[in-house]
């Protein structure tokens, strides 16, 4: 019975909200009227005229046609609503100047009971058992019109305009508080009645009623969206662990969004790729739009230039990921990689000033996945064996064996039969020290974060101001990142038609990047002493840097970012709004490095400095029209936008300084190095039109067209058209779906499809122009044609099809989305090789077409949902397949010297290409020797070369010609996961405690463990590690499954060549984030300023299930190429992963 009641309640919620704008003419403070037998519609109109409140209700609110008699004299509108609407069986909710009306079923079984109870708005004191209290929302604003039902007596009341209520109860009665858009709450009346029974209602976070930001200041209810949008609101943002950036928090949260975090470094690059790579070049990163302003200083880099690192997550209200053409088309030319719209928090009209202070402290624990460098004895043991192996193998001394073994003693043996045991060490080959460099150079870093926010508002002005600080240490000592930020948001209603919004935020970040220490540590031997006899730092040779030198080296970056915008919104006539907005984004970053004497290949100090200043100016004008005509719901917008980006980068370098500590400014340098200065500018002009149409809450349509002109293309190819369309059908709103089992169980069902074109101008400026640059000779200036311009360059175009089915069951307790997409990208821009007789090796050209398709799903299940407990499980996943359809011009494949993948027409992108092996090592040297064959003339054909021995990799001779050469290379599997995504759970207990966990996973991809491959290929005179050299056949039996091949100074045996031996299954499941929070209710802080205190405990990367042997099954991608299709999947092992634990405390003052 109860279920059905609530179900009905829900069904009404679903169909409410057709928007009707009522004309507002003036702002009256009080209501004065007396109307008799007047239809409700007209009454509302009168109220609108007198008070400025608009009413929003659905066609199903049949009551509007009914006549009522009502009177008001000098009454406050809110107070009037408080008694009038309940008296006629209508619930309402006030949102700014809008009042949402809906018919009421609950709380009573019949309208009459309610009427009787509520018209008085007072409870008759038949018994002495009463509870009283005040109902507020989570921000402490009073909620009027909340239904309060005694489930035992079936009697109920509504809360008044100030949120207060009084209800007759007996001890142990169950009370249900319910209100549209808020979670129901149930209470059991305690035995001893308290006079105050204050309730805080929480907004219902169910995605159904969420609102997505769809670009250019527009919003749309998720349920009405025809495209594919992943929305992340308060709930997701609150559980983002400390140290998260707006990029990293997306990991595992949305289907089709692949987030790769390079490492746990505070300056770690992060890559976000939506629905696979559509571009061959560039980093394939989406367009970030922060508070309506496209952000061009975003990207993969972790350096101070990336503003996404400076964006304070605590300030973020919501994140919307626009994935399909219909949603992204509004950003047309830059949308081929998807769009992520970030909206930050703001104050609210009528909100009491609220001060929030939160702080978090974190502790990171390095996680090398068992990897460690050799300590003293281990190093000696390995080196002795490896050098003897190489000497024996080569039969002669080489540079490295001479460093360790005594050649003089060897000659004295005077025998051709080498017994490696009789070879003696070179005296002085090893030093006496035994330093555990790793322990001295690294630490478990601390992090801290402080946020102070003030927000509030009056009727005319709402505001938010905040300050924040985040400080993070790096795993490497002296590495850090510090971020200071501040922001102000102001919204003022100048008169009833005009609103002004001002938004400014600024941040400054400084970082000390010591990430290369890991490479230094890898090379420095444990036996090398720290100091010379005179106390200066010991440097063994030009290749190995003393880690203490690394610590003292400077690698400093600072960046300042300021974004300011002003927006004027003018309601011209009913339903027609004009908005004009100007914004400026200014960024200034600086980097300084100083390498001391003793740094790798540095004899006299070198200093490098560069500064980049850039700004983006945007001017937008938008005209929006929205209206509802009967069952037709129409909105349309026109936007014109221009923007200009400028950047100026200059830098200088010098070397040869008198000393490293004092006389090391540029003016002290004896050798002045290169000077650089580069200025760039690009501009864009856009016109956008969008129309949305909804019929009878069942049929949805969206059409968007964008016309973009970009300065990056030649005069004839500048303009691109990017149209798209989307259709949606809310099947569950059809009459035939509303009866029977479906009607009872299927809450919502929508089928949507979209098709459209988006573009990309992923290329450097000025590529279309042939230009003249400078080159010197005899210290005199000279000029020469410095590039070859391509006037034929045109937009990359991606045509995307998207189909999805959304279904929700059982009061939306199960919510699912299943989608399919297909992307066809044409005219992809890439560097096209040129014949050298053209004087150039390449030019930027539109060279290829690719196609990608994939599935996405997401499921959310509220396993338990009652007033005290709510447990939600969620999961999402996606798969993507891309391949090249054709190459234009003369290209036939994409493969290069340093690529481990090859892209050819018809084959999937991201496939490894190299030598196959038998995945085992030669057990004996005879086995290797037996593979040599004879040529017809009796010569020896080597299988590879003459260096293979026991413990080397057994390569497959795929073409059976008796020798391993480039013809034996084949495709070796994919570097891209077959399925990836995330899953998680969230448990709310009562109002104050919640616990959540987010997992990420990837399945079916192979990664190249590059570090292992390069280590066995060259151990040189560097230190080695337990997991690579320590597992090599130098120390272990070649028959063990876990053994890696021989690792010798020069890598004889060719094991360091790329082969499938170095590809490892990188499927994994990781507990990405664990999150607990507890809120101490305000009852604890009565009579203090404190409203509440919230405690959080979070942890990241608690465990990872994987068979991958390297540091981390994801991340550690190349810093320079990012996630380019040619290097994706290579694990360069730059920096280890880390577990982070953090504790947070948030005070709210009112």
């Amino acid at each position: 019975m109860k279920l059905k009641q609530t179900l009905n309640h829900f069904r009404y919620l679903l169909v409410i909200m057709s928007v009707l704008f009522c004309t507002t003419t003036m702002f009256a403070q009080k209501l004065n009227f007396e109307l008799k037998n007047t239809p409700l519609k007209s009454i509302l109109k009168t109220i609108t005229q007198q008070s400025g409140y608009d009413f929003v209700y659905s066609d199903l609110l049949k009551l509007v046609e009914k006549p009522f008699s009502v009177k008001a004299s000098g009454e406050d509108p809110v107070s009037f609503f408080g008694h009038f609407f309940p008296s006629i069986g209508i619930t309402y909710k006030i949102h700014e100047k809008q009042v949402v009306l809906s018919p009421r079923k609950a709380p009573a079984e019949s309208d009459t009971t309610v009427k009787k109870l509520s018209t008085t708005n007072q409870i008759s004191h038949t018994q002495n058992n009463q509870i009283k209290g005040k109902i507020t929302d989570q921000d402490g604003l009073p909620l009027s019109g909340v239904s309060i039902l005694n489930l035992n007596t079936k009697k109920g009341v509504y809360s008044g305009f100030d949120g207060s209520y009084t209800l007759e109860v007996k001890p142990s009665d169950k009370i249900l508080f319910s209100f549209i858009g808020f979670k129901n709450r149930e209470y059991v009346v305690p035995q001893k009645l308290s006079s105050n029974f204050d309730i805080r209602m929480e907004e219902d976070a169910v995605a159904l009623e969420s609102v997505a930001i769809i670009g250019y200041g527009n919003t749309q209810k998720i349920k009405d969206v025809t495209g594919s949008i992943a929305h992340m609101g308060k709930k997701e943002l609150e559980t983002a662990p400390m140290g998260s950036t707006v990029q990293t928090m997306l990991q595992g949260r949305a289907a089709g969004v692949n987030v790769q975090i390079q490492s746990a470094s505070p300056t770690s690059p992060v890559s976000v790729i939506i629905r696979g790579q559509s571009s061959l070049s560039g980093d394939n990163q989406p367009l970030w739009v922060i508070d309506g302003i496209p952000e061009y200083n975003a990207g993969v880099s972790g350096s101070v230039s990336n503003v996404l690192y400076s964006l304070n997550l605590n300030d973020v209200e919501s994140i919307d990921i626009l994935k399909d053409a219909s949603s992204t088309a509004i950003y047309g030319s830059r949308a081929a990689n998807g769009v992520i719209v970030v909206t930050t928090k703001s104050g609210k009209e009528g909100m009491k000033p609220t001060l929030e202070l939160s702080s978090r402290w974190g502790y990171q624990v390095m996680n090398f996945n068992g990897y460690d460098y050799f300590k003293g004895e281990e190093y000696l043991n390995f080196t002795k064996k490896a050098t003897r192996h190489e000497l024996y193998n080569r039969g002669t001394f080489d540079y490295f064996t001479r460093l360790y073994l005594s050649e003089a003693e060897f000659w004295k043996l005077n025998t051709s039969e080498i017994d490696v045991r009789r070879i003696v060490e070179l005296p002085g080959a090893y030093y006496d020290s035994d330093t555990y460099w790793m322990g001295e150079m690294t630490r478990n870093p601390l992090q801290q974060q402080y946020d102070l926010t003030l927000k509030g508002g009056t009727k005319e002005v709402s505001y938010l101001a905040g300050l924040n600080y985040t400080g993070m240490q790096g795993v490497v000592k002296t590495g850090f990142s510090k971020n200071y930020g501040g922001k102000i948001r102001l919204e003022a209603r100048i008169n009833k038609d005009i609103k002004l919004r001002l938004n400014a935020n600024g941040s400054t970040r400084s970082a000390s990047d010591k990430d290369y220490m890991l490479d230094v540590l890898k090379k420095v031997r444990p036996d090398i002493p720290v100091y010379n006899a005179d106390g200066s730092l010991f440097t063994r040779d030009a290749y190995t840097e003393n880690p203490y030198t690394t610590l003292k080296n400077t690698g400093y970056g600072t960046g300042e970012n300021i974004t300011a915008s002003a927006e004027l919104e003018w309601t011209i006539i009913k339903g027609l709004i004009f908005t004009t907005r100007g914004s400026v984004n200014y960024s200034n970053t600086e980097s300084l490095t100083y390498k001391r004497r003793g740094s790798t290949f540095n004899y006299d100090g070198s200093r490098n400095w560069s500064r980049t200043k850039s700004d983006t100016k945007i001017f937008d004008n938008t005209l929006v029209y929205a209206n509802t005509l009967g069952k037709h719901d129409i909105s349309a917008s026109l936007t014109a936008s221009i923007e200009r980006f400028q950047s100026l980068r200059y830098g200088m370098a010098a070397s040869n300084f008198p000393d490293d500590d004092v006389l090391n400014s540029f003016s002290n340098a004896a050798t002045k190095g290169t000077l650089t200065e580069a200025y760039e500018m690009s501009s864009m002009v856009s016109q956008i039109a969008r129309a949305q149409y909804k019929y009878n809450d069942k049929y949805l349509a969206t059409f968007t067209i964008r016309h973009d002109g970009s300065s990056k293309f030649g005069p004839d190819r500048r303009w691109g058209w990017f149209p798209s369309g989307g259709l949606g059908w809310i099947i569950s709103n059809e009459e035939f779906m509303k009866s029977g089992w479906l009607g009872d169980n299927l809450t919502h069902m929508k089928l949507r499809a979209s098709y459209g074109k988006s573009g990309s101008q992923n290329l450097q400026n000025y590529q279309w122009m042939t230009m003249v640059g400078s080159v010197n000779y005899m210290q005199q200036p000279g000029i020469y044609p410095s590039n070859i311009g391509n006037l034929a360059l045109q937009w990359e175009e991606t045509i995307m099809t998207d189909v999805a089915l959304e279904m929700e069951f059982w009061k939306s307790r199960i919510r699912t989305t299943l989608g399919y997409y297909n992307k066809n990208s044409e005219n992809l821009i890439y560097s096209q090789s040129l014949a050298p007789s053209s004087a150039f090796s390449s030019m930027t050209a539109n060279i290829a077409s690719t196609t990608a398709s994939g599935f996405e799903f997401s499921v959310d299940v509220d396993v338990i949902k009652n007033s005290n407990w709510q447990l939600t499980l969620n999961a999402n996943g996606s798969s993507n397949n891309s391949k090249v359809l054709k190459f234009n011009n003369t290209m036939t494949e994409l493969a290069g010297l340093y690529y481990y993948t090859k892209i050819v027409v018809g084959e999937p992108i991201g496939q490894w290409f190299g030598f196959p092996t038998y995945k085992r090592l030669f057990g004996t040297s005879e086995e290797a020797a037996a593979l040599k064959t004879r040529t017809a003339t009796g010569g020896i054909t080597m299988y590879r070369n003459n260096m293979e021995r026991s413990g080397d990799i057994y390569y497959k001779d795929t073409d059976g010609n008796g020798t391993i050469n480039n013809d034996d290379k084949i495709f070796l599997g994919t570097a891209l996961p077959k399925l990836f995504g995330g899953f998680g759970l969230q448990l709310y207990v009562g109002n104050s405690f919640n616990i959540g966990a987010t997992f990420t996973y990837a399945y079916g991809n192979k990664r190249l463990w590059y570090m292992a491959m390069s280590d066995v290929g060259y151990t040189g005179n560097y230190n080695q590690s337990n997991k690579i050299a320590g597992m090599s056949a130098i120390l272990r039996s070649p028959f063990e499954q876990t053994t890696l091949p021989n690792a010798t100074p020069y890598g004889d045996g060719g094991n360091g060549t790329f082969s499938d031996y170095w590809l490892f299954d990188a499927s994994y499941i990781r507990l990405n984030a664990l999150n607990m929070s507890y809120r101490l209710d305000k009852n604890y802080f009565r009579n203090t300023l404190i409203d509440n205190i919230e405690l959080t405990l979070q942890a990241t990367n608690l465990f990872t299930l994987t068979r991958y042997p390297g540091f981390d099954p994801q991340g550690n991608f190349s810093t320079s190429t990012g996630m380019a299709s040619t290097t994706v999947g290579v694990d360069y092992s730059y920096y280890p992963d880390a577990k982070t634990f953090n504790l947070g405390i948030k005070f709210t003052f009112k």
């Binding site: 540079y399 200025y679 005199q780 000029i783 311009g789 006037l791 004087a839």
Partner: protein, 503 residues
């Protein structure tokens, strides 16, 4: 209300129109669009200077090119492949790409200078002098391409000439077909003749091309072509040019009496006719290229200490030489060409006998000496070569043995350190030619590829010298004198055809 609408429309209208081309015309601040670059005398000069900037840096059209030629001759093995078996995929492409990038710079100057108003030039001849310099350079690069990638020895109708460019590259002309061999020679000679006609008579610096170099280079080309094609006209023309060049040699261009000074002074030596100079910047050593600064210490060298840790005498050093040690090492100039230097690698402190005239101290020791020693010249042409060419041309155009040997003895007499003995007048023509051949090597070894051209121009006992040097089963085949056109060109240029038999 109406007014407000007008305001809105007036705000929107300019933005809604496509009249934003000006806003989108973003021109780089620090680069000229090619069509606007050449307007003044300064730019005219800079466009010519820029040509040098495009090939003087690095090895490609310098020492790398010459060590390959030396290796091809068989005399000294420096790089790989000396048996003429190069194929498309391992064909050297350094010279190919560098020559074309320099030609592109030449074309900026050659097409741009005529557009600069006459009045902008300080003298009436200045315009053509600059044009002459640019055309000399274009002729020089085209002649290198002709000699090394095309069938230059073939008949005029042969379609395997060069790809000839007279426009700066743009998307439309990025790919071009080959000319015939005859057309190719004509284009080369036209440029050089224009240069001889118009370049100034005064010689200002050997770091740039000059009228003197134009004459000498044309003579060298005619000598090479004339002997291969048995054209007596080419040879008499060449002799006239060389005679003229020697007769009009500027006073400032003369041989060093101390040959050590030639290489110590490097590009500042007065005996250079055309020499590679490297900009004086902090990374001068690395701009000088691999062979000049590094390669020799690991290829054509002799370790100073033998395996018994005993020093090797300089007179016993080999330095990669495969033929003629008996007459190369006994010449006093051997001790100028070679010397002891440290290996180039940072960690490698060993000493070795190397071609010190080119390698100098090597990249490590040179950059760390005080003052730095980084004058890595590449000797495209020195005065002594004029005398040797003159001797050869006299011999080839019917002069007597005594007449022919005289220029060589004159050249030898100009040296005092080391003192080089006078050659006796050879008894036979064959002995004469042998001495001339050896003199190219004894004086110019490894400098500018002269030993390569000589190795197929001169014969011994009815075989080319190249066959004599390489010995064994090697058979000289003139159809392989040129390298195959490199892979990247063949793959990316649909209009090109490979030399016959060189796929």
């Amino acid at each position: 209300m109406k007014n407000l609408k007008i305001i809105i429309l007036s705000v929107l209208t300019p933005l809604l129109l496509n009249s934003c081309e000006d806003f989108l015309n973003n021109v780089p601040r620090n680069q000229w669009p090619v069509e606007e670059a050449m307007k003044t005398y300064d730019k005219a000069k800079q466009s010519v200077n820029g040509i040098y900037g495009r090939f003087m840096t690095g090895d490609n059209a310098n020492q790398d090119f010459y060590v390959r030629l030396t290796t091809r001759s068989g005399l000294i093995q420096v790089t790989g492949l000396m048996d003429f078996s190069e194929n498309q995929s391992n064909s050297p492409k350094n010279l190919w790409s560098t020559a074309y990038s320099a030609i592109n710079a030449c074309n900026l100057a050659i097409n741009g200078i005529p557009g600069v108003p006459e009045s902008a030039f300080p003298t009436s001849t200045a315009k053509n002098e600059l044009l002459g310099e640019a055309r000399m350079l274009r002729g020089y690069f085209n002649s290198l391409l002709l000699l090394h990638y095309s069938c230059w020895w073939d008949s005029d109708e042969s379609k395997f000439g060069i790809i000839y460019r007279d426009q700066t590259t743009n998307v439309e002309n990025a790919n071009m077909p080959r000319l015939t061999v005859g057309e190719s020679w004509t284009k080369v000679m036209e440029d050089i003749d224009f240069a001889i006609e118009n370049m100034p008579n005064t010689f200002s610096t050997p770091k740039k091309v000059s009228k003197l170099f134009a004459k000498a280079w044309k003579a060298k080309l005619l000598l090479i072509r004339g002997t291969m094609r048995n054209s007596s006209k080419d040879l008499t023309d060449a002799k006239a040019l060389i005679d003229d060049a020697i007769a009009t040699l500027p006073a400032t261009v003369k041989m060093e009496t101390d040959m050590n000074q030639t290489f110590l002074k490097s590009w500042d030596s007065q005996e250079n006719i055309f020499v590679r100079y490297v900009e004086d910047v902090s990374n001068r050593t690395s701009l000088s290229g691999y062979w000049s600064t590094y390669g020799f210490s690991y290829t054509a060298y002799t370790a100073y200490l033998n395996s018994a840790q005993q020093p090797t005498l300089q007179s016993d050093a080999v330095c990669g030489i495969r033929y003629g040690l008996d007459w190369i090492r006994t010449d006093p100039r051997w001790f100028v060409h070679t010397g002891k230097s440290r290996a180039a690698e940072t960690w490698d402190t060993s000493e070795r006998w190397v071609w010190k005239k080119i390698y100098r101290l090597g990249s490590y020791a040179g950059a760390n000496s005080s003052p730095k020693d980084e004058k890595y010249a590449v000797y495209h042409m020195r005065v002594p070569e004029l005398y040797i060419m003159q001797a050869e041309l006299i011999a080839r155009t019917g002069g007597t043995n005594a007449q022919a040997i005289a220029p060589i003895n004159l050249m030898r007499s100009k040296r005092t350190v080391p003192s080089i003995p006078q050659l006796a007048v050879p008894a036979t023509k064959e002995e004469l030619m042998d001495e001339i051949f050896k003199e190219y090597i004894r004086e110019l070894v490894l400098e500018n590829g002269s030993e390569f051209y000589a190795s197929f121009r001169f014969e011994k006992e009815g075989k080319t010298y190249m066959e004599v040097i390489k010995g064994g089963s090697f058979v000289f085949d003139k159809t392989k004198l040129q390298w195959p056109i490199p892979d990247t060109e063949m793959i990316n240029n649909p209009l090109i055809e490979q030399n016959p038999g060189q796929k």
